[in-house]
């Protein structure tokens, strides 16, 4: 697997889209930190980048890359390689390169301006989201042979997890207003990797508002180390499960 991974990474890090993505992130991050008078406000602006732009770019780029690599994948399949090794190499290549782009574009500015717990949490959340959406891209690409459909599916998944899911949650909240919903909310947050990351990051930034109001459950769950560990375990699940399903599909796929 290492053999292929190395070259896939080599290919993707030289990709123009990835280079532009890195540069864009770096420009936004540096300007956010240097324009905002107080750097925690800068972190808040970065929060939106991490929650919206990073997943979108990661999922769309990865999907397109997989479709564009169809012939390359065929060529690899004709070589003495296990299918699993090929698929994991592609996943690894995308994950490593995009994570690297994020580290350079967002990680470095954060380390310069906010080298503290909050900053590290944002970097961790961003890295996890990167890998999660690469994994989901693999899944959606394994569902259909049609490139346009695959990209459409990916964009929809992104839209779903960044907007539609939350809208549904909000709707449910109003429908069941009379019931205690905090515990349900904790569970619901695990169904969306973006929500999960956002809550973890917010606990580092806007902690006062979060803790004060919803009462003990939110704080007890998310506020302590077990909760943080659980959240990242949840995110790991969001990486592992789509990857596993896509791997199973790829192993049986006719190319």
């Amino acid at each position: 697997m290492k053999k292929v991974l190395k070259y896939v990474i080599l290919d993707i890090v030289q990709n123009k889209t990835v280079l532009i993505y890195t540069l864009l992130l770096a420009i936004i991050s540096f300007s956010v930190f240097s324009l905002e008078s107080n750097s925690s406000k800068g972190l808040l602006s970065l929060l939106n980048i991490i929650l919206i732009i990073v997943p979108l770019i990661c999922i769309v780029f990865s999907t397109i890359y997989i479709y564009n690599s169809a012939e390359f994948i065929e060529l690899l399949l004709s070589q003495p390689l296990k299918r699993k090794a090929i698929w994991l190499s592609i996943f690894g290549g995308l994950a490593v390169s995009l994570a690297l782009a994020f580290l350079i574009g967002v990680g470095i500015p954060i380390l310069i301006y906010q080298p503290n717990g909050t900053g590290f949490m944002m970097i961790a959340a961003g890295l996890f989201l990167t890998v999660v959406f690469v994994s989901i891209a693999l899944l959606s690409a394994s569902f259909t042979r049609d490139k346009a459909k695959g990209i459409g599916l990916s964009v929809f998944i992104w839209l779903y997890s960044s907007l539609i899911f939350d809208a549904v949650v909000l709707f449910l909240l109003f429908q069941f207003q009379d019931y205690p919903l905090e515990r349900v909310m904790v569970i619901l947050s695990f169904l969306n990797p973006i929500d999960l990351s956002r809550i973890q990051m917010l606990l580092q930034i806007d902690i006062s508002a979060l803790m004060g109001y919803t009462g003990a459950i939110f704080r007890e769950f998310f506020g302590n180390n077990t909760g943080i560990a659980m959240s990242f375990l949840g995110l790991t699940g969001w990486i592992a499960i789509p990857l596993f399903i896509s791997l199973r599909k790829f192993e049986k796929k006719d190319l």
Binding site: D166, V169, D206, I207, S208, A209, L210, G212, Y213
Partner: protein
């Protein structure tokens, strides 16, 4: 000699007229017990106590004497007794370390108990691990100054208040440091009192708690990291200037909670990092000006039961929510404040924004009725809702607005 002469005359005159005596108490002295010296003394006498450990159960002062500790002699209540009880005008207790009062569910036991007296002073004492610290009842014009009052309260029931005043008038409470009691300062039916430069931190309940206490002034106090912040109720004509309400956060924690407060001034105060900086319920005619609200969860929560309160020239910076409210009825005014979330413009460059600022966001309203919605905090859907609401107000109270928001932070 010429210079000394008037002083000498004065000294003789003074000495003759009062005939004050000074008693010394200590190990190896004639008098070894403080209570014995008090019994011997007459009004106006002074008792000096050497350093050392004194376990005299409850010391009772019923004369106008001055009791001074040299190098903080330790008065120990052996976890059973109240330690000093004063029932005399013009008595003074200074320079002691007073520790380990008893705890009782029937009577209040404190380190310094002042009953029915006039012009009593408690100065420069160190109070450690007591149930109540300084307890004042039915007294007038007492001075409580520069005491350091520490307890280690775990819960509200087993802990007394740091400075507890009941039915008193014209007290002066200055420069005390109170920590770890139930309420740092507690006033009930106290009036015309000055509370100045005290520091009340990490108390089990409130940093300061007063009820039915009118015409009091609070200046330059610091209330920090109290479990429930500060709560003041049912009072009128309160002046609060230049106080600090800091780091009070938790499930139901306020920088300050005002309930049924009327005709008061709140100015120059600093509310930083509180879950709710200022909470107002059934308040009326309060002028709030030149305060700083910074990095709070909610800067201000103002219930619809409030009326005629006026917010002028305050700075709102870095708060998650600027204003929260529970209804659409708005009978309060906001004028000339600085809001860091203001996105308007100032075409004529007079530092006043040309469009009004609506400090209540739709999401703040949602949270108020549905706290679990906090899960969606800072999500895209919430941002979109807020922006839509700004363009087409439907849910947020339309007339809760600042018509003259300033463009730059006010120099406070």
């Amino acid at each position: 000699m010429k210079k000394l002469f008037p002083i000498l005359i004065f000294a003789i005159f003074f000495g003759l007229s009062t005939q004050a005596k000074t008693y010394f108490v200590g190990k190896g002295r004639e008098i070894t017990k403080i209570q014995k010296a008090i019994d011997l003394a007459k009004n106006g006498d002074t008792i000096m106590v050497d350093a050392g450990l004194y376990k005299e159960k409850n010391i009772i002062i019923q004369k106008s004497i001055t009791l001074i500790g040299i190098n903080h002699p330790v008065l120990d209540g052996e976890n059973k007794y109240a330690i000093i009880t004063i029932k005399a005008n013009n008595a003074k207790v200074e320079g002691f370390k007073i520790q380990h009062t008893g705890r009782s569910e029937i009577t209040e036991l404190g380190a310094i108990m002042i009953y029915d007296s006039y012009k009593v002073s408690a100065v420069n004492n160190i109070l450690d691990d007591n149930n109540f610290g300084i307890f004042v009842q039915n007294s007038k014009s007492c001075t409580i100054k520069n005491n350091s009052i520490t307890a280690y309260g775990k819960n509200e029931l087993q802990s007394g208040n740091g400075i507890h005043c009941w039915h008193s008038d014209s007290l002066i409470i200055v420069g005390n440091k109170i920590k770890g009691h139930r309420d740092g300062l507690y006033f009930e039916f106290v009036k015309n009192t000055l509370v100045w430069r005290n520091i009340s931190t990490e108390n089990v309940r409130y940093g300061i708690h007063f009820m039915f206490s009118n015409h009091n002034t609070y200046i330059g106090n610091i209330f920090e990291k109290n479990e429930a912040g500060v709560a003041v109720m049912y009072s009128a004509n309160i002046n609060m200037y230049n106080n600090y309400f800091l780091d009070n956060w938790g499930d139901a924690t306020y920088g300050i909670l005002l309930k049924d407060i009327r005709d008061s001034n709140i100015s120059g105060n600093n509310f930083t990092k509180n879950t709710i900086g200022l909470y107002m319920e059934a308040c009326s005619r309060i002028n709030l000006y030149k305060n700083i609200f910074k990095n709070n969860g909610w800067a201000v929560k103002i219930q619809a039961s409030c009326e005629d309160n006026d917010f002028t020239k305050n700075n709102f910076i870095g708060n998650t929510f600027d204003i929260g409210t529970n209804g659409s009825l708005v009978l309060n005014t906001f004028t000339g404040n600085y809001w860091d979330k203001y996105e308007g413009y100032d075409l004529n460059k007079d530092n006043v924004g040309d469009v009004p600022y609506h400090p209540v966001s739709m999401y703040a309203m949602i949270i108020d009725s549905n706290p679990a919605a906090l899960m969606l905090f800072r999500s895209l859907i919430v941002t979109l809702l807020d922006k839509t609401e700004k363009l087409l107000p439907g849910v947020t109270p339309e007339n809760l607005k600042d018509n003259k928001p300033v463009m730059r932070p006010l120099p406070l």
